[in-house]
């Protein structure tokens, strides 16, 4: 995969995918905290296996294909743009297997939406949420902002995958725990799968969207009721 981008597009992408974007992704472990409690993840190699499969079987089948469709809906010339984006927003939420995973998505989505007026950005979701204030998925909000900022579509997919990865590796680093060098090694190992993840996402048909990683879902459900935890649920 080769990505072409303009300087402005690249800078905007860096801004949107940076951990400094105040959306609070660092507050969620997405099932990882319970997996560590249960001993399913206990090292850099088991963390890599845990995250790599999620990239192929969840990120590639839910987040990225929905990001792609939301982005395309933003540039659509036909029909009601805000209706189309809203549909994909609902789809993103419907694919979240647990309250924790859904909250991760909507808390970050809401934070991004709150930030937009101050950045002078207005997206199709803003119009829709005025009439029916409902949960906004970070995936669709991210797609709309990327479109508005003229970040190329593939670059937007790459940026989203990167920010997901960075949050998950940061959570693993705190919880397992890993050293700073190991965290960089883990990021290095996992980023090799990003291009393949994006290719899978782009090849998916609408009726193939969706994922199921049963133990991840159970881990996330049990995190919601875990007695002591560092991360939000």
């Amino acid at each position: 995969m080769a990505i072409t981008t303009t300087d402005t597009g690249l800078l905007r992408l860096l801004q949107l995918s940076s951990v400094s974007l105040p959306v609070g992704g660092y507050a969620f472990s997405q099932g990882l905290e319970y997996a560590i409690e249960a001993g399913w993840v206990d090292s850099i190699s088991s963390a890599e296996a845990w995250l790599e499969l999620q990239m192929h079987d969840a990120l590639a089948r839910v987040d990225l294909p929905i990001l792609l469709r939301s982005y395309q809906a933003c540039s659509s010339q036909q029909g009601n743009r805000s209706e189309q984006v809203y549909y994909w927003n609902q789809m993103a939420l419907a694919c979240r297997e647990t309250r924790e995973l859904r909250l991760t998505d909507t808390a970050m989505g809401e934070a991004l939406m709150r930030l937009l007026p101050s950045l002078g950005v207005s997206i199709p979701l803003s119009e829709h949420s005025k009439d029916t204030p409902e949960d906004v998925s970070f995936v669709t909000a991210f797609a709309c902002v990327a479109h508005q900022w003229q970040v190329e579509q593939d670059a937007a997919l790459l940026g989203y995958a990167w920010s997901w990865l960075e949050n998950q590796v940061a959570a693993a680093t705190k919880l397992i725990p890993l050293g700073q060098t190991q965290a960089q090694q883990l990021l290095g190992a996992l980023q090799q799968y990003v291009p393949e993840t994006i290719e899978t996402a782009k090849a998916l048909a609408d009726d193939e969207l969706g994922a199921s990683l049963p133990a991840l879902a159970i881990s996330s459900m049990l995190h919601e009721t875990q007695y002591t935890r560092l991360f939000r649920s």
Binding site: Q90, L93, A94, L209, S212, I218, M221
Partner: protein, 317 residues
């Protein structure tokens, strides 16, 4: 599983070999309609084409809510088979659906044509549907697509579960080499509210053993119930929703204790996702999954349907 059943299944497995010279392709279809009248909910439409049918409705809990047993005498799908169940529950009508036997998806024939099952449920305004089937057993090397699509109108409610057995653990029969695509979706007034898409094929094979996937446990169950009225963000939580949250927490604490003590032999948990309660089982015994789901169903039914659990009689035999 009892030994007699195990013997039957073993026998089936040896006789149901792939024989391309005798391809029997059954496209069976059953279409049901339920309507509320002065005498309760009646099965007003019952049309079948091929070996998939309902004999007669049972009314163990009164005239408003019949129990229907979906019968499929061949007992399973071979390559090229297609089984379609369409159910429409009209305004304010209620129905409970179950199956007297496990569904089977046999070993694929050499041509590997799809073994396809589609359940399509339309639940109109204020109507209710319960989909409580026995498990589906997927034989080694099967190639199948299983779809369940639930469409709810305003005020409609749904409880359902699906338990899938990859192979037959009791017979040491491992179907991790099967190709399975399983889709379970619920929409509410046209809007997707629950989407689950399980894929197991050559590309995703690793998920069977992976800790984040199935942890080498062959029985995968998913349970869905709702919608439960959501609390308004501007007012205090209702008593019912507080009780439900407490019940989920208690259940999860119990399950987590088992997991941490027994090294994760059986994994199960619940979560309220939006207005739906979603539960999962991952383990090695279909009967255990069904009993757990039955307990969850019994706990949620009073709030969701205003009725105590009334297990279909066939479960007791």
């Amino acid at each position: 599983m009892n030994t007699a059943l195990t013997a039957v299944l073993k026998n089936e497995l040896s006789t149901n070999s792939s024989d391309p010279s005798a391809p029997s392709r059954w496209h069976a279809r059953l279409s049901l309609g339920l309507k509320l009248g002065v005498r309760g909910t009646r099965l007003v439409h019952n049309e079948h084409d091929g070996p998939l049918y309902v004999q007669k409705p049972f009314y163990p809990e009164g005239a408003e809510l019949p129990h229907l047993y979906i019968l499929h005498p061949p007992g399973g799908l071979v390559s090229g088979d297609r089984l379609q169940l369409d159910v429409e529950v009209e305004e304010k009508a209620q129905v409970l659906l179950t199956t007297p036997g496990a569904g089977r998806v046999y070993r694929a024939r050499a041509d590997r044509t799809l073994q396809h099952q589609i359940n399509s449920f339309q639940v109109k305004e204020e109507a209710t549907l319960e989909w409580l089937p026995l498990e589906t057993i997927i034989f080694p090397n099967a190639r199948t697509r299983l779809e369940t699509k639930v469409e709810l109108d305003a005020g409609a409610r749904f409880v359902g579960w699906e338990v899938t057995s990859l192979g037959l653990p009791a017979c040491d029969l491992d179907a991790a080499d099967a190709e399975v695509s399983q889709r379970f979706t619920v929409t509410l007034q046209g809007k997707p509210v629950f989407v689950e898409q399980f894929h197991l094929n050559a590309r995703t094979r690793r998920l069977y053993q992976a800790m984040v996937g199935m942890q080498s446990k062959p029985i995968n169950g998913v349970f869905v119930a709702g919608p439960f009225k959501s609390d308004s963000p501007f007012s205090a939580k209702t008593k019912a929703s507080q009780q439900r949250a407490q019940w989920i927490a208690d259940e999860n604490h119990r399950q987590s204790e088992h997991i941490l003590k027994q090294n994760g032999q059986v994994l199960a948990a619940l979560s309220q996702v939006g207005d739906f309660v979603v539960g999962r089982y991952l383990g090695d015994c279909s009967e255990q999954a069904r009993q757990l789901f039955e307990r969850w169903w019994a706990a949620l039914r009073p709030e969701l349907l205003g009725r105590k659990a009334c297990p279909p009689r066939i479960w007791l035999t």
